[in-house]
């Protein structure tokens, strides 16, 4: 079977599953790491596999601009080109168009303050979205059909419908209209996918509806009743963590149970536990690797001088002469030799290998977290598992 999703166990603590793709199986709950421009930042495919990674994603938006999906296709498609050769997902391009376009969606989705990036979104209408390349200012028009065509060129196993990603501070009326347009775009994406379906890719629908229960219900019903292989929970998840958990919770109560469900853009340790408990199967977020590039190493509470935080900051001169690894009980390549003092030195000296070494730790940390969660689901011990990995 090239594609399949089986639920191996389900309880009120979450569910265990197996997601089969032409490039291999993914044991769920799983974390999907972000290889935005068809490369994990500062980490090679060999290092990704050594860190026990199951699946990665790349971003349609970045790749359509550079090097173009045609070039990726000529270079053999994402899996061959990148040397990853394992399960992969691509997003639709929508999130970045609207995020970079409004200059602030990513921040608003996650309840952060706005930044001041230049706005590149030129026009959005029923047909699609017109935007300027952040690289050379060239104009692009992305439609649902074009997004699917590009994702076909890119060649990931799992692909996603084009949607509009609305900021959370827009009015309900706008969210409603936007959601319904996203549903129409979802149907067009589905048709574009079906027309060329050759069994090598499966399509995820996206649930929109912002923070509004009635809209989330309408969107769940839409996604449930159409022929999507998987379901992604998207759109604004609210202004803070509590609202995010509430939105995910009400959404998951309405989602059909036989499809893999992906929670878009969430990747903190406690948020992963909250998602698993709602039945989420896969997560993605730049957090573990972006954090690493800024000197942040994920640690269990038992290895953190500030156990209410989920990471330590290796830039802190507190670590300058510390000759212990990030986590003495970690079996990753980095912890096998590198002291916190050495990593502190590499960060201060601006050595690129610091990003590599801390990224390797954070990736391994998240993969071991997910493995631990799967074991806990198997043995109904998620509460003690959570206590081990995350402080309340």
């Amino acid at each position: 079977m090239r594609f399949n999703f089986t639920i191996d166990k389900s309880s009120n603590q979450g569910r265990l599953g197996t997601l089969t793709t032409p490039h291999g199986k993914v044991q769920t709950p799983a974390f999907i790491f972000c290889a935005t421009k068809a490369a994990m930042k500062a980490v090679t495919p060999v290092q990704m596999r050594a860190a026990e990674t199951q699946i990665i994603l790349a971003n349609t938006y970045h790749l359509m601009l550079q090097p173009s999906s045609e070039t990726v296709a000529k270079l053999g498609g994402l899996q061959k080109m990148t040397g990853w050769n394992g399960p992969m997902l691509t997003d639709s391009g929508g999130f970045q168009i609207f995020s970079l376009g409004h200059g602030s969606v990513a921040n608003e989705v996650k309840g952060r303050r706005s930044n001041n990036r230049p706005k590149t979104l030129l026009k959005i209408n029923e047909q699609g979205a017109k935007f300027k390349s952040y690289i050379d200012g060239r104009t692009y028009f992305l439609t649902p059909e074009e997004s699917i065509r590009i994702q076909r060129n890119l060649g990931a196993d799992l692909i996603v419908v084009l949607d509009e990603c609305t900021p959370f501070n827009v009015e309900k009326a706008y969210t409603t209209e936007s959601m319904r347009m996203s549903h129409r775009w979802g149907l067009r994406s589905l048709e574009a996918w079906q027309t060329h379906d050759n069994g090598t890719q499966k399509l995820y629908g996206i649930i929109q509806g912002g923070v509004y229960p009635d809209l989330r219900q309408e969107s769940c019903e839409f996604v449930n009743e159409h022929n999507f292989f998987g379901i992604a929970v998207g759109g604004s998840l609210g202004a803070d963590k509590q609202q995010m958990h509430d939105v995910v919770s009400m959404t998951m109560n309405l989602v059909r149970k036989d499809r893999p469900v992906h929670l878009l853009g969430i990747g903190g340790v406690s948020d992963i536990f909250a998602g698993v408990r709602k039945g989420i199967d896969t997560f993605d977020c730049v957090h573990p690797t972006r954090l690493a590039r800024h000197g942040g190493a994920l640690v269990k509470p038992s290895n953190n001088p500030k156990p209410t935080r989920e990471h330590i900051n290796l830039r802190n001169s507190f670590y300058a002469q510390n000759n212990l690894p990030i986590e003495p009980d970690c079996a990753c390549e980095t912890c096998s030799f590198a002291s916190k003092g050495y990593l502190h030195h590499l960060l201060k000296a601006q050595e690129a290998v610091a990003m590599t070494l801390i990224s390797i730790h954070n990736i391994y940390f998240i993969n071991k977290l997910m493995e631990s969660i799967r074991q806990a689901l198997k043995h109904d011990t998620l509460d003690s598992c959570q206590k081990y990995w995350s402080n309340p």
Copy 2:
């Protein structure tokens, strides 16, 4: 035996040797890669070993400023701290003090035009050299004794005497005086090393004398007659390649034959062959890894569209859709999966992993070159070996 150097074969084509250190053996001729600030730029120790590296070096100058040799010692010394755990060399700090100090020695030694870096060398006298830190402007005074003390803290197997590195455009009188002071510094370095010798480190003397045959002779005699374990050929090697080869040639004719001889700062493929033919045992240069970070990949003439050059420039859009590896006949990790088109994309997208992947290729390339040279010396086939690796 903790330290030893044996000459396994010697001919007019060069010589084969084995350099034994407490951290392992080095088969010579060998290349010593530069881990300037106690890290290979963009490459992990695991990747260095996978690329068949035998020995690396770190720079006293950079490490005494940051994180300080005391911190390196507290973190277990260079081999443990970096996770390299193989043979290592440190230089004395002299080259960088004078290079950064005059703002131009590195360029002049290699016959390049001057740059305009700020001058940090404040004073040089019989006692030592006073200079400002490029990091925080703090003042340091490096003496031969201090250099040896710092190198003892750093803990490399092979260490080097402090010398003054004179630009090639100074008058012969200055070169003469400088060389004689370097000899006196060499004796002080030797004494400082002997006083604390516990069998874990061996000292190299340095031959100075610029481009002047009589001075090179005087310097060779000095180094030959004192108790140095190894000999480094330093100082100005002239204004161009021919003069460099001539200086190395006249120097090597005068050097005693029972010690390992290192040629400082030379690392082009044809220059390595020229050095081997004069009897050089080890080379070092930032060239292979610096070239990689700028998108240059070392290739054999048979893999180069411009066979008179020693590398290809992967930034060139000529490679944008090329789906072959840098060298189809290369067995390095990078060539096992990455096309030139993919590497071109990674460079354009400013992905740090581009530097990693091209560095891995260049390091493996140089290590295979040296292995090939050793095989050729064994079988007296250096001429055909050179034709295979380097165009005349």
